[in-house]
């Protein structure tokens, strides 16, 4: 009992936030949550709303599960996790429909599909079930940011090269790129290019971070 209280932002706790941003990124390293990353990254705004939604859902679910971890019967733990995630997703969906109607239309089914996002179940099962609420909270922020950052990077390139806009603002038109014969690349709007963009991000990340390259 005489164990010293760990400071809130000890280096161990900070690693929970920074690791998922780079060396343990849920999308580029663990390759989880890909399907939503392909579907809603055509424009920046939905991508950001999606990132925020996932963060809210993951933060609340991680803390709730972590707080209940000792009273959740192991035999039904997956069901409990799913119920918590599903309720949070419905709440987020309802709030979006009420206060960000146009974005909620663009995201359509993908808000609902947050439930099936492997990152969420993964974090609840692997982390929140065995850790205290505060580290779980940080872990949620870290992983959701790691997911969100990739989403936003992909959406940035897809919107810029596919539609020539950023947040709907016609960047390329303003700088007069169309006058010299530039055309938007329609392929960027289609899902395959999201996969290729993520592939390029993984490539760049591995080129910079040698530790990620598998031994042959």
């Amino acid at each position: 009992m005489n164990k010293e209280r760990e400071p809130l932002f000890s280096s161990k706790n900070l690693k929970l936030i920074t690791d998922p941003l780079n060396s343990n990124n849920p999308i580029t390293v663990q390759v989880l949550g890909i399907c939503s990353a392909l579907a809603i990254t055509v424009k920046l705004k939905p991508a950001i709303v999606m990132a925020i939604s996932v963060m809210v859902v993951l933060m609340v679910s991680n803390v709730v599960i972590s707080a209940l971890r000792k009273s959740i019967p192991p035999r039904i733990r997956i069901i409990v996790q799913l119920v918590v995630i599903a309720s949070m997703v419905i709440l987020v969906d309802q709030v979006l429909k009420a206060f960000a109607y146009d974005v909620s239309k663009q995201l359509s089914v993908f808000v609902g599909l947050i439930i099936t996002n492997c990152i969420l179940m993964g974090r609840l099962e692997a982390f929140a079930m065995g850790n205290k609420p505060w580290p779980s909270f940080l872990d949620a922020i870290g992983n959701a940011s790691g997911y969100g950052v990739i989403l936003i990077i992909v959406a940035f390139f897809r919107e810029l090269l596919g539609s020539g806009t950023l947040f709907g603002y016609p960047v390329f038109q303003k700088i007069g790129l169309y006058n010299i014969g530039y055309e938007n690349n329609g392929l960027m709007i289609l899902p395959p290019m999201a996969l290729i963009t993520i592939g390029i991000i993984i490539w760049v990340q591995r080129a910079k971070n040698r530790a990620l390259i598998e031994e042959k």
Partner: protein
């Protein structure tokens, strides 16, 4: 690891389900009026867009009150149906009925220059899901003044292009009756409309099935208004 008894598991799951149900239903009830209002605002934006008035979520209601001056419901024989609010007619239900039983809303837009436009709602099937829109006519009841379409899940970049202005502006000035007064509807032509044609528009390349759905929607929905439109045309010429 602690061993949990079956009774505990039952009680745990029952309590959990009750708490979750309470939270969700409360939220749904609290937010429903706001969500309903969003849907109405969106509908008003659509109706305004069909007479080429751009609106945002914020000013849609005031613009709608300013420009949409009247609305009523008719049946396919061109007679007015009293006691039905045009705005609350759900086209998704109406298009499933035979022509004779449909409630057909008409909205009247009065523009800044004082001209009256007659707005008709559309609904039909695209490739993957419903497509819908509004189309407005000049007071000759055959020339299109403006059109707007949207969709739920057409393919982005292909069928989804029907919701772009670039596709919709083609409809302006097209005529849905031929010289002898027969209803021709509008043809959405693959490979491009004939130059100078008054009832053809270009289909979307790569969006053939959506374009066909759109053409069928126009034929079906406008077709139910033909009797009324013809009566109105006659009364205009006799005036």
């Amino acid at each position: 690891m602690r061993n949990f008894s079956n009774t505990y598991i039952f009680i745990f799951s029952s309590v959990m389900v009750i708490i979750v149900a309470a939270i969700l239903s409360t939220t749904a009830m609290l937010l429903q009026p706001i969500q309903q209002r969003n849907i109405e605002i969106e509908k008003k934006q659509f109706i305004l867009a069909s007479v080429n008035i751009e609106s945002t979520g914020k000013n849609a209601e005031s613009l709608y009150d300013k420009y949409i001056t009247d609305s009523y419901v008719i049946n396919s024989r061109g007679k007015r149906i009293e006691g039905v609010d045009a705005f609350s007619v759900n086209m998704a239900d109406e298009i499933r009925k035979p022509y004779e039983e449909r409630n057909l809303p008409i909205y009247i837009g009065t523009l800044d220059d004082g001209t009256k436009k007659y707005i008709v709602p559309l609904r039909g099937k695209g490739l993957w899901g419903p497509i819908y829109g509004y189309i407005s006519f000049n007071n000759d009841f055959k020339t299109i003044f403006g059109a707007t379409f949207d969709h739920d899940k057409e393919t982005p970049g292909l069928g989804a292009e029907i919701s772009t202005r670039a596709f919709q502006k083609d409809f302006k000035g097209k005529v849905i009756f031929d010289d002898t007064g027969n209803f021709t509807s509008i043809l959405v032509v693959k490979g491009g409309a004939k130059p100078g044609s008054v009832n053809q528009v270009d289909a979307i390349s790569g969006g053939t099935l959506t374009s066909k759905g759109l053409q069928a929607m126009l034929k079906d929905c406008l077709g139910s208004y033909v009797t009324y439109f013809k009566e109105q045309q006659n009364s205009v010429t006799h005036e």
